[in-house]
Amino acid sequence: MTVLCLTELDGGEAADASLRALTLGRSLDSSALAAVVFADSASVPAGALAGYGVTDVYVIEPGSLEGYAPQAWARTLAGLAAETGATAVLAAGTDRGNEVLAHLGAITGLPMAANCTLVTPDGGQTHRLVRHRWAGLLLEDAVMEAPVALFTVATDSVANVSATPAALSVHVHKPELAGADLVVRAAESPAGAGGVSLATARVVVGGGRGVGGPDGFAPLEELAELLGGVVGVSRVVTSEGWRPHRQQVGQTGTKITPELYLACGISGAIQHIAGCAGARHIIAINTDPGAPILGHADYAVIGDLHQVIPALVAALRAR
C-alpha cells in the first residue's frame, strides 16, 4: 500500500505547501509514503522529507523530463501509481498541484477531489473526505469511490507537522511519455519585483479601501519591509487599479498562511476572509469598530491607518 505525493521544491527546499500535503498523506497510514520530485537527484531534500515520514522518493531528473509540463507530470504520476500499486495520489492544492491532479483525473478517468482538509480510508475502494467549497467558506463532507483516490490538500487549512524520521530510499524514475504530453510546457523567466512571495510570506500587511488611493501604500510598504513581510490588498484595491492583481488576498487572488496578517482599512468581505483565514494571527486596524474583519481578528486598533501605521513604524524604528 503506497501513497504518492507530488512534492514541489521552492528555492531548493521542499515547498511548505508540499510539507502540508505530506502531513495529510501520512495520516492515511499506508505502509509507504512516497514523494515524487521533479529535480536533479543531488538537489532532493532527502533529510527534510524523511522528517515528514517519507519512506521513498521517486526522482524524475531533467534528463528524462525538463521543466514543468503539467500533462507529462500527470502521466509520470499515473505510471508510478500503476507501478507501485498506489491507493492514493495527492498534491498540495497549489496552481500546479491542482492542475497536475486534474490532468491525472482526466488521464485515468477517476474523480479528483480538490482542496481536502481531511481524508480517511474507509475500507475497500472508499475514502471519506472533507474538502473546501467556496474557497473554504464552506466545507463539504464527501465520499470517494475509486481504485486510486486522487486529491489535493487545502494548504491554508492543514498544518505542516513533522514526524519521526523514517528510513528513506531514493529511486531515479524514468517516465514513459507520449509526444502529446509535452505539447504544453512552461518557459520560465523571472517575474515582477521578485522578493518574498505573498503565498509564503511570514508577515503580510494588508491594505483595503481605507488606504484611499494608489498613493497611500508607502507607509504599508515601509512597515512590511520592517517586519520582513510583503503588502497584500483587498479586491477593491485591484479592481480600482490601485495595485496589481498579483497582490490581491482572497478567493480570486492569493490564499495566504502567514504568522501575522495586519489588515489595514479592510472591512472583511467573506471573499477576503477566504484568502486570509489561514493566517495564524490577524490584527485589524480600522476606523469602524463594527467592521466584519473584527469578527475574524485576534486584536484590533480602532483608528485611522494613516496615523496608526506611521506611528507604529516610528515605534519599531526606535526600538
Binding site: A142, H296, D298
Partner: protein
C-alpha cells in the same frame, strides 16, 4: 476566431454564507446570482479578442433554466450567441460537465474555449482540463495574460515569483483568473440586444460520479470578536507588545 466561454450561475455571497437545513445547498433566500470574477474576465477577454481579430463569442452555461439570466449578462457585454445546457436542478460533477461541454464544442467547432480557473462554489479546479482531454486539445490553466495569433496562443501566469509562458497551438482550452483584464460594464444597447437574443438549448443527461457530496457545512472558525487594543496612535505601545508576543519582531 470562434470562441466559446463557459460560465456558471452561482449565488452572490456578501456578508455571510449559510447552508439550507438539509445541508445540500447554499441558502439563497436572501441572495442574488452571478458568475464568478474569473468568468467575468473570461467573457471580457473573449470579447476583446474578437474585437481585434474578428469572429464570434458564444457563451455557454450548464445549469437550471434560471441561468439564462447569466447568459444574457454575457450577451450584454458583447457575446453573440448563447447556449444553455439545461439541468434538472441536480449538481453535475466535473466529469459529466466536461463531457457535456465537449459535445457542444464538437458539434459547433471552436478555435478557443475559455473558462474561469475554478467555479466559485464547487471549486473543483478540473472542468477545463477534463474538457481538453475529451477533445484532445492542449490546455493552460490559471492564466493572467493571453496573446492570440492566427494559429496559436501564448498564455502566461506567475508561479512562486517566476513567470511561466505556455505556447499552445489552436484549437485550445484556456482557464483564466481575475486580473487578466478589467471587465467592462454592459452598455444600454448591449442590454437591449441581450434581452431579445435567442438562447439555444439542450439537456445533457445527469450521471453519478465517484465523488459524492454528503453535506455542506459552515466551518467553525474558532475566532471570536477581536480584543480592542485601543484607539488611534494611543494603541501603538500595546500593538508593539502584541507583535513582540507573536514573535514577528526579529
Amino acid at each position: 476566431m470562434e470562441i466559446l466561454v463557459c460560465v456558471k450561475r452561482v449565488p452572490t455571497v456578501g456578508g455571510k454564507i449559510a447552508v439550507t437545513t438539509d445541508g445540500q445547498e447554499v441558502d439563497t433566500r436572501a441572495s442574488g446570482f452571478s458568475i464568478s470574477p474569473h468568468e467575468e474576465c473570461a467573457v471580457e477577454e473573449a470579447v476583446q479578442i474578437t474585437e481585434r481579430a474578428g469572429g464570434t463569442v458564444s457563451v455557454l452555461t450548464l445549469g437550471p433554466e434560471a441561468a439564462i439570466e447569466q447568459l444574457r449578462g454575457a450577451l450584454a457585454l458583447g457575446a453573440g450567441r448563447a447556449v444553455l445546457l439545461e439541468t434538472d436542478g441536480r449538481e453535475f460533477g466535473p466529469i459529466v460537465t466536461a463531457a457535456a461541454i465537449a459535445a457542444e464544442v464538437r458539434d459547433r467547432g471552436y478555435d478557443l474555449v475559455l473558462l474561469g480557473n475554478e467555479a466559485a462554489d464547487t471549486g473543483d479546479y478540473q472542468v477545463g482540463v477534463r474538457l481538453a482531454h475529451e477533445l484532445g486539445w492542449p490546455v493552460a490553466t490559471g492564466i493572467k495574460n493571453l496573446t492570440v495569433s492566427a494559429d496559436r496562443v501564448v498564455a502566461r501566469r506567475e508561479y512562486r515569483g517566476v513567470e511561466e509562458a505556455y505556447e499552445l497551438p489552436l484549437p485550445a482550452v484556456v482557464t483564466v483568473k481575475e486580473g487578466i483584464n478589467l471587465p467592462r460594464y454592459p452598455s444600454l444597447p448591449g442590454r437591449l440586444r441581450a434581452r431579445r437574443a435567442a438562447v439555444e438549448r439542450s439537456a445533457p443527461a445527469w450521471a453519478a460520479e465517484g465523488l459524492r457530496k454528503e453535506a455542506l457545512r459552515v466551518p467553525e472558525s474558532g475566532k471570536h470578536q477581536a480584543e480592542v487594543l485601543g484607539q488611534g496612535v494611543d494603541a501603538v505601545p500595546s500593538l508593539v507588545r502584541v507583535l513582540e508576543e507573536m514573535g514577528v519582531l526579529s
